[in-house]
Symmetry: D2
Subunit: 155 residues, 4 copies
Amino acid sequence: MASLEELLARGYSESRIRVRYAETDQMGVVYHANYLVWFEVGRVDFIRDMGLDYKAMEKEDNAMIAVIEASARYKAPARYDDEILVRTSLAGVRGTIVRFRYAVLRAATSASDEQLLCEGETTHIVVNREMKKRDMPQHYADRFRALLPRLTKLE
Amino acid sequence: MASLEELLARGYSESRIRVRYAETDQMGVVYHANYLVWFEVGRVDFIRDMGLDYKAMEKEDNAMIAVIEASARYKAPARYDDEILVRTSLAGVRGTIVRFRYAVLRAATSASDEQLLCEGETTHIVVNREMKKRDMPQHYADRFRALLPRLTKLE
Amino acid sequence: MASLEELLARGYSESRIRVRYAETDQMGVVYHANYLVWFEVGRVDFIRDMGLDYKAMEKEDNAMIAVIEASARYKAPARYDDEILVRTSLAGVRGTIVRFRYAVLRAATSASDEQLLCEGETTHIVVNREMKKRDMPQHYADRFRALLPRLTKLE
Amino acid sequence: MASLEELLARGYSESRIRVRYAETDQMGVVYHANYLVWFEVGRVDFIRDMGLDYKAMEKEDNAMIAVIEASARYKAPARYDDEILVRTSLAGVRGTIVRFRYAVLRAATSASDEQLLCEGETTHIVVNREMKKRDMPQHYADRFRALLPRLTKLE
């Protein structure tokens, strides 16, 4: 977690995750679907760094950010107990559609540099509790749009 | 899935699950927390076999069966692609408390007999949407109580 | 599970999954990462329907099908206890790269037709236990290539 | 993560976890099986705080800590985005059997005190890669036994 200033200075938010035993599979590496869960951890931290509260948005504004598209490209496997960095940035805001982009890395250690493990993107629409499409609450939308040009694209 | 007659004839319900790759960990066996998910699969099938609809109970009766205690004893590991049987029975119904008991087995194959992998028990109370304790809707409670003496204990 | 004849007659394999409580999230629908787990269930059944044994391929041939890319487009939410169909087909086999395509549907009920919930694609390479790229064992590769033109693309 | 001194001063290790959206279910609270995953996060941090490296124990000593029993008692629900503390201590070391005990709490906020959400216990044996029972490597066993009387029981 960081402040909006840090988010803008870096151009992306950064989350730290320690790989759990439960996240590995019998190939001895992290099961690929878990990266989508890590993207979500990144997304939530990104929104928090923006100074917004996603929980309140769901509860008080009846507005949920639903995933309509997700993709991931796996470069190298993450392993049990690795320290993982998830970097999250905005890829686009257009009408009611928001796109996030992610880079998942193994953090640098005394023995090795940081290493890119996975890149991905998710696309979202805003829905209400009945899962019907709706506009993003105005103060959230304003914040997203203001932020977009000031961020790194993580391309 | 079976009928109430089959449930009574057998003394327990029986669910079939094929072990998913996602359920294994780097030890090469099923990660232990997944057995609690399988217990839930067994519990839902048990309730369905009773002729009740848990989904309707949540939606229409505002009554959810919340877990207040769970335990599992692991006897032998399940492995990827194993065919698993979850046998579920009632262990007790007292006031607003319901207890289920489970036996998880590897199904018999041409090469081997069925094998007990895990035994467990879960204890539940009924809550409403606000997670406040409430009585079980009468027609569900009646059904549970009528069934209890006619089932195998799976001890 | 079906035979190779059925696979060819249909043009894709078909897996049935009952949505687990564990797979829902607080939005009241299936958490989006679980579709990747369901794709994997579909992929394993597809390979089984081909008459191949993925478990043996891992164990005896030291060849694992690792995911290098995954994507999903979500059309409508799956809900607890829904009966889900996962249709899986090959999208391509080129050199050491295999691509699968998936359609996830809610099965038809007495009250409603089947409904498309999610489409997706995964791309794979074959690796050995040390996660190094290798060729697919010849008899698997032959089978995949022979099958490709005889299947539906699920586009 | 902390040092052995801190572990001894406190009597238990303490892990911090932010509840993920993926960990909630449609009841709007954390799905109960996830507490076993959190226990494992606590256990790994505990072993790390002891100055031991579980990863090395698996890889270099061919010794894995397998779960043979797990139990949890749920007191109050955890919710999305809650900050969770997992306190882990040893409950016993006897022959080749190790028992851990856990307390899962919601961290104190400006608005509320910390609150106990779940208590649990897991029992373990040491196995080799073939899942056969073996002794704990001597330097690990010595460390566990030396530590036991100096810890809080978390009862």
